[in-house]
Structure formats: structure tokens, C-alpha cells
């Protein structure tokens, strides 16, 4: 069973389907401009865009001392999301549009009326432009940009009879959404939810999980506090620890999500047990920040091809040296002909020494050198 087909009812509203109508396309060819019309409509209501996916913040929930949940009402371009997928958001900070992806943190209800909203949960990251904007500036009524839901961290095709969920830190968000969706949809199997978190104060969705456990007999939740300063003795993942918490854990299909360090420990244990097939996982955590030095790195092109980049050499030079044929002009940062859309990674501007944002943005290949691995679209 695939969650994207059966468990979540997509809230696809086809209001703007006429934009793709052959008559509209013909009109576009002879001068009809949706973009211009959209401009005036957006002046009346920012959500009435004919061309862009947008959403309005309708509700803000304080989760913990550094985590907030934002309930968003998307406009008619929104195509829906499945539990476990992530949603692209775009906010403007200091004149610059920053793009990030956050997991959908909503329990997909079967009730159609609540499906008109989507929900993301944002943890404030020190130095993070977007998370701090959300945490400090975002207000109910704000309109932000949206990008379609993506991601294939969905439940296995054939839903197992027993599930184990292992999450750490903010890795809880996509899995919380999946588990809540399953329970609401009437899943009858047993679910053991084990969440590793620093202190009780850092626990996201604690109350909601507790309520779900009260409401559904087949659902158990356990919190493990990793910080030794907390009241209980510190508790980290180990084979013995998980055996104590969930005795039949090897018989369960496991969903895993959290920071890289936590996940590698868990994955190694499952590998040792020879149970790789019964483990679904997704990496989660803040993108690498603070990288400043030019390094040898790898670039992934639109075609999926990967090419080695040399530290301090422009990406354009490396690509040409590797027999690629990118579009370019002046090779000195003047003409912008070599501009490409970077979807991931950070680069250093060789003229100014500035290090770019790690999110999605256009870069000039001829004056950009990698500081992390880079992906182009």
C-alpha cells in the first residue's frame, strides 16, 4: 500500500486549470499575458496569483522554546502533499528570496475541510536565515512562496502488521505526520514510537503523541532523554537500550529519521542484524553551515552525472576540462550567460570571496568555486 495513493486525500483544487486550456495557450501566443493580469490581481489579494504557488500563514503554534509550527493556507495552485514528504517554502529576507524545504508535519485528516491547510514545523537554527525569519518575524497573515511537495520517504507498499518508529530531534516531524495519518486512517497494527531528544523541554509534538497514545490502544510512545542533566539518567540508542524499550523490535518494520550521527548508529545495528530490508529512513537536519573554504567537491548535473571539481577553480573551468559543454560567454563575471540554477550546496564567489546561501538560487559558473558538494538543476 502506498500512502500517497490511499491514505492522503490530495487537496488539488483545479481553479486555474483554464491557464492550460488550448484556448488560453493560443491567446498567450497572440498577446494574452497571464503574468500582467496576475500582477493586478495580486495587488488586490496576494493569493490570487495566476502563475505562482503561494500560501498565507493562518495560525502559529509554539511547540517548544525553539520550535514553532506554521499552519499555511495554500492558493489554488497547490497540488497536495503526502505524509512524510517535504514542502518548499520561499520567504523574503532583506530583499532576497530564500528557499528551504520543511517536512509536512500535519496529520492528514480524512475530513476534507481541514485538508485545505498544510503545516510545517520549524526549529530555530543559530545563524539560520530562514528559520530565524520564521521564528522571529513571521506573523499570521503573511504570504509566502510555496514549492510543490517532494520526497519518497513514504510507508512501504505492503503495510506491515507491526511498526517501530525511531526518531531523534527534529527528525520527528515527517514521521509524526505519517504515524498520525496512519492512526486516523484506521491502521490496526501495532506502532511503537521511540523518540530520542535532549531534554523534555526540547520535545516537539509531545502532547499530540501523548493524546494519540491515549486514544489508540495499538499505539505506544516512549521518550528517551539524551541529556545527562535532565532528571532521568541519560539514555542513548544502543542494542541493549532498544531491547529494553521494545522487546520485539527485530520483528517490526522500522521507520528511522534524525540527524546523520544518530542514523548511522541505528543503520549499522540493523545492518549487523541483517535486517536492512525492514528499515525505511530519511536523513534530516539543518543543511551544513559555516563552510567557508574552497574544497575539492563533487557536482551533480541535471542529467544526474557527477563530476569532480577542483578547489579554487571555477565550476565552469572544471566542467569544460571534463568535456562538458555549458553555455557561457565572457568568463569574467560580466555577462551572466553561464548562469545556472543551483538546488543544493554552497559556492564561493571568486571575485568577492563571498560564500553563497545553501538553498536554491542562480549562480555564475565562471566565478563560482565549490565550498561543499553542489547540485545543479
Amino acid at each position: 500500500m502506498n500512502t500517497s495513493e490511499t491514505l492522503s486525500s490530495h487537496s488539488s483544487v483545479g481553479k486555474f486549470e483554464w491557464l492550460n486550456h488550448p484556448l488560453t495557450r493560443a491567446a498567450t501566443r497572440i498577446g494574452f499575458e497571464a503574468e500582467a493580469l496576475s500582477y493586478y490581481l495580486e495587488k488586490i489579494n496576494p493569493l490570487w496569483s495566476l502563475t505562482s504557488m503561494k500560501a498565507q500563514v493562518v495560525h502559529i503554534i509554539d511547540e517548544t522554546h525553539d520550535v514553532k509550527t506554521f499552519v499555511l493556507r495554500p492558493n489554488a495552485h497547490w497540488q497536495g502533499v503526502s505524509a512524510g514528504q517535504h514542502i518548499g517554502v520561499a520567504v523574503e529576507v532583506g530583499g532576497v528570496i530564500h528557499k528551504r524545504r520543511y517536512s509536512s508535519s500535519k496529520a492528514e485528516a480524512t475530513d476534507k475541510s481541514t485538508n485545505k491547510t498544510v503545516q510545517i514545523t520549524v526549529k530555530r537554527v543559530t545563524g539560520g536565515v530562514v528559520s530565524n525569519h520564521f521564528y522571529n518575524q513571521a506573523q499570521v497573515g503573511d504570504v509566502i512562496g510555496l514549492d510543490a511537495a517532494e520526497g519518497d520517504f513514504v510507508l512501504p507498499d505492503k503495510l506491515p502488521s507491526k511498526l517501530l518508529v525511531l526518531t531523534a530531534g527534529s527528525g520527528i516531524t515527517p514521521v509524526f505526520s505519517q504515524v498520525a495519518t496512519l492512526l486516523i486512517a484506521g491502521y490496526k497494527g501495532s506502532i511503537e514510537f521511540v523518540h530520542y531528544v535532549r531534554t523534555p523541554e526540547d520535545c516537539i509534538f509531545g502532547k499530540q503523541l501523548y493524546q494519540l497514545a491515549e486514544q489508540y490502544d495499538n499505539f505506544e510512545v516512549q521518550w528517551c532523554y539524551e541529556n545527562s542533566k535532565s532528571k532521568n539518567s541519560p539514555e542513548r540508542f544502543s542494542s541493549k537500550q532498544i531491547q529494553n524499550r521494545v522487546t520485539d523490535y527485530t520483528e517490526r518494520h522500522t521507520l528511522l529519521c534524525g540527524p546523520a550521527g544518530f542514523m548511522s548508529v541505528v543503520r549499522k545495528h540493523w545492518d549487523d542484524l541483517g535486517l536492512n530490508d525492514s528499515l525505511s529512513f530519511e536523513y534530516f537536519g539543518a543543511p551544513p553551515m559555516g563552510a567557508k573554504d574552497e574544497v575539492d567537491a563533487e557536482i551533480t548535473l541535471k542529467t544526474g552525472k557527477q563530476i569532480q571539481l577542483r578547489a579554487g577553480e571555477s565550476i565552469l573551468d572544471s566542467l569544460i576540462a571534463n568535456g562538458e559543454t555549458p553555455k557561457y560567454g565572457c568568463k569574467r563575471g560580466v555577462c551572466h550567460e553561464c548562469k545556472c540554477l543551483k538546488t543544493n550546496g554552497a559556492v564561493k564567489n571568486l571575485l568577492t570571496g563571498n560564500v553563497s546561501d545553501s538553498g536554491e538560487e542562480y549562480i555564475q559558473l565562471c566565478i563560482s568555486a565549490p565550498v561543499t558538494n553542489v547540485t545543479l538543476a
Binding site: R29, I30, G31, F32, E33, E35, A36, Y39, Y40, S52, E92, G94, G95, V96, I97, H98, K99, G329, C330, R332, G333, V334, C335, H336, E337, K339, T352, E360, E361, Y362, Q364
Partner: protein, 363 residues
């Protein structure tokens, strides 16, 4: 006269200009975003007002007021879109905003030139090889003779007439410029290039002309002819205005042209590139509104030094640039509009006839 700089001096000159650039690039933010959005807002509402005035002005007594007013609004909207918004956005001046609607690679401006082709010939060819005869086809746009270094051809006898024709059909001129017909005749460019770019030009022209001369007139019903004539007048005004501003950019006064030397060009440093840009460009003095209506091409010198810095900053950068030019003995060509355009027109007349040196060599 401008001083000839050694490589070392040119590099120092360049380093000082880089510092000016750096100062402004690090400041990019809210203020620049506000500026371009404000320009778009004014442009959109002038356009809407202009079209509305033309539409509804079908009653004879009102017509006398609404038609000229409509034409005025619409032509200013077109001028702003082409110059302060389109040209500057397509230079990548606002790419740092990461706004898909203001992205140099995807923006499509409201003129018959195909955006992709224009970006290549303008941003790359013209801005990299500025005023190098044979490399920069914007020197006289392949039809006018504006420098003694351009070889004389008999059709240059019609220079003044060519100038008027080019100015009135400037949008078409810039669009057809992409076809590189001159190079095709010389065998430097293929006919298939003409076919490909020609098709793009026709597609875009059909769309824009279809809008101005068929769709909008039809929508207005009884005022079909009034709207059509109004749109034509607005396009014509836009053409003359943009042509006059652009001709003031590289040809008046002491603005230099250069001879093509592959070896020199290949070893050119960033500093030397700055020197060439500086000496090949000319400014026009004026107020804030004038600068906006010229898309800040009235600061052609600053634009050629810093083509991807938001143009509204050129006014602030100019004093620093002038000071650096003075320090290095570089001539800073500037003057009021009538002086600069007059100087260009003078050259248009002067170079109808072969220059003396070439007469001798021809003999």
C-alpha cells in the same frame, strides 16, 4: 585627452574601481528590492492607465484629451519596461534577489527582440568587446558610420537618413540586429543562423504586434482605430527616445572606438578592460526622472564598468568614479542631453564622407 595607462596603472585603476563596486555590492538588499518593485508598480499602473484612456476615449470631445494622455502614459510605461526594468533585469542586476520574476535568464521584455539572442549579443558581445570595431556590432549598429575608424562604404552617404529610419523603427532594428545579416554577407555567419533567429523574431513580433494592433483594438470595439493608432504612436515615441539615449552612450565627444587586435584582447587584464569600458562610454547629465526614463543609461560609463550592479546606484557611484578617473588622467565624457546628442548627430553628418586617411590609402 585621456592619458594612456601602463598595464600596472590600469590594474591599479581597476583595483580602485573594484573597491567602489565591492562597497555597493555588499550593501545590496531591501533598498534595491524596493526600488525595482516601485519601478514595476509605476510602470504597470501607467500601462493600465494608458490603455484604459485609449480604450474609453471614443467620444469625440473627450478624445482630444484622453488620446494624447493615453499615448503619453503608455509610451512612458513602454520606455520604463524596456529601459529601467527589462534592460537592467536582463543584465542580472537583480538576480541576487532570487526572484523568478526578476531573473536575467528568464525575463522576457516587452519589445520585439528575442530575449535570449539579445542577452548574448548585448551582455556578452557588446559588454565584453565594447567599441571594438568588428567585434562589437553595436558600433553604428551595422548601418551607421559614427567613427573614422569604421571603413567608409557608399551607403554611408545616406547616414543622416539612415539615422532617422533606424530611430523610428528601433525596436525592429534591435530585433533584426540578432540576425547578423552583415556577417552572413561576409561569410562569417551561416544562413541557418538567420533562419533560426528570424523565426524567433517573427514569433515574438507576431505576439507583441498582435497584442498592440489586433487584440487591444478589437477589445475596444468602436474605438478600434483610435487604440491602434495610439499603440503605434506609443511604440514610435518609445523607439525615438530609446534610440536617442542609446546613441548618446558610446558615440558622443571623445568616446573612443578600438581596433580589433586578437593578441591584445587575449592578454587584457581586468584593469585594462575597465580602462577600455571607461573610454568607450559617455554619460548624459540630468535629474532623477530623466535618469529613470533612460534606464540609468545616462550613466553609461558606470553601467559599462558595473553592468550587473542595480542601475539606480550609478548616480551614487558616479562621484567616486569621476574622482578615480581624474586621479589617473582618464577623460570622463559627460554633458547635457542636447550637447551629447548634438555631438552624435555631428558625427552622423561628418562621417557621411570618407575620412582623409582612408582617402589617401585608397588612392
Amino acid at each position: 585627452m585621456t592619458k594612456i595607462l601602463t598595464v600596472e596603472e590600469a590594474n591599479q585603476f581597476g583595483a580602485e574601481l573594484d573597491a567602489v563596486r565591492e562597497k555597493h555590492v555588499t550593501q545590496l538588499g531591501e533598498r534595491d528590492a524596493k526600488h525595482i518593485r516601485r519601478m514595476i508598480k509605476i510602470q504597470r499602473f501607467l500601462g493600465l492607465t494608458g490603455r484604459a484612456l485609449l480604450w474609453f476615449g471614443f467620444m469625440p470631445p473627450m478624445f482630444i484629451v484622453t488620446w494624447p494622455l493615453g499615448v503619453l502614459c503608455l509610451s512612458i510605461a513602454k520606455i520604463m519596461e524596456n529601459m529601467e526594468i527589462g534592460h537592467n533585469v536582463m543584465h542580472g542586476q537583480y538576480d541576487w534577489m532570487n526572484d523568478p520574476k526578476l531573473n536575467s535568464q528568464t525575463y522576457d521584455w516587452d519589445t520585439v527582440s528575442d530575449s535570449d539572442g539579445w542577452r548574448y549579443t548585448h551582455n556578452y558581445e557588446h559588454h565584453t568587446y565594447t567599441n571594438i570595431i568588428g567585434k562589437d556590432r553595436d558600433v553604428g549598429y551595422g548601418v551607421l558610420r559614427v567613427s573614422k575608424d569604421q571603413p567608409w562604404e557608399p551607403h554611408h552617404l545616406l547616414n543622416p537618413l539612415t539615422n532617422v529610419v533606424l530611430a523610428s523603427g528601433f525596436d525592429v532594428g534591435v530585433g533584426l540586429h540578432e540576425l547578423e545579416l552583415g556577417r552572413v554577407v561576409k561569410g562569417e555567419q551561416s544562413w541557418s543562423h538567420v533562419a533560426v533567429t528570424g523565426r524567433k523574431f517573427l514569433r515574438k513580433a507576431t505576439r507583441l504586434w498582435g497584442k498592440d494592433y489586433v487584440i487591444f483594438p478589437l477589445l475596444s470595439g468602436p474605438n478600434f482605430l483610435g487604440v491602434m493608432a495610439g499603440n503605434f504612436a506609443a511604440n514610435l515615441i518609445r523607439n525615438f527616445w530609446s534610440n536617442m539615449i542609446i546613441m548618446c552612450g558610446h558615440f558622443p565627444g571623445e568616446a573612443q572606438t578600438y581596433e580589433y587586435d586578437k593578441a591584445v584582447l587575449e592578454t587584457e587584464t581586468r584593469g585594462q578592460w575597465y580602462v577600455r569600458q571607461m573610454n568607450g562610454s559617455a554619460n548624459i547629465e540630468g535629474g532623477k526622472v530623466f535618469h529613470i526614463l533612460s534606464g540609468h543609461l545616462s550613466h553609461q560609463i558606470e553601467h559599462h564598468l558595473f553592468p550587473d550592479v542595480p542601475a539606480h546606484r550609478y548616480t551614487e557611484m558616479a562621484p567616486a568614479v569621476r574622482k578615480i578617473c581624474k586621479k589617473y588622467g582618464q577623460h570622463y565624457e559627460t554633458g547635457r542631453f542636447f550637447k551629447q546628442y548634438g555631438s552624435f548627430l555631428g558625427k552622423v553628418f561628418k562621417y557621411t564622407l570618407p575620412s582623409r586617411k582612408q582617402k589617401l590609402s585608397a588612392a
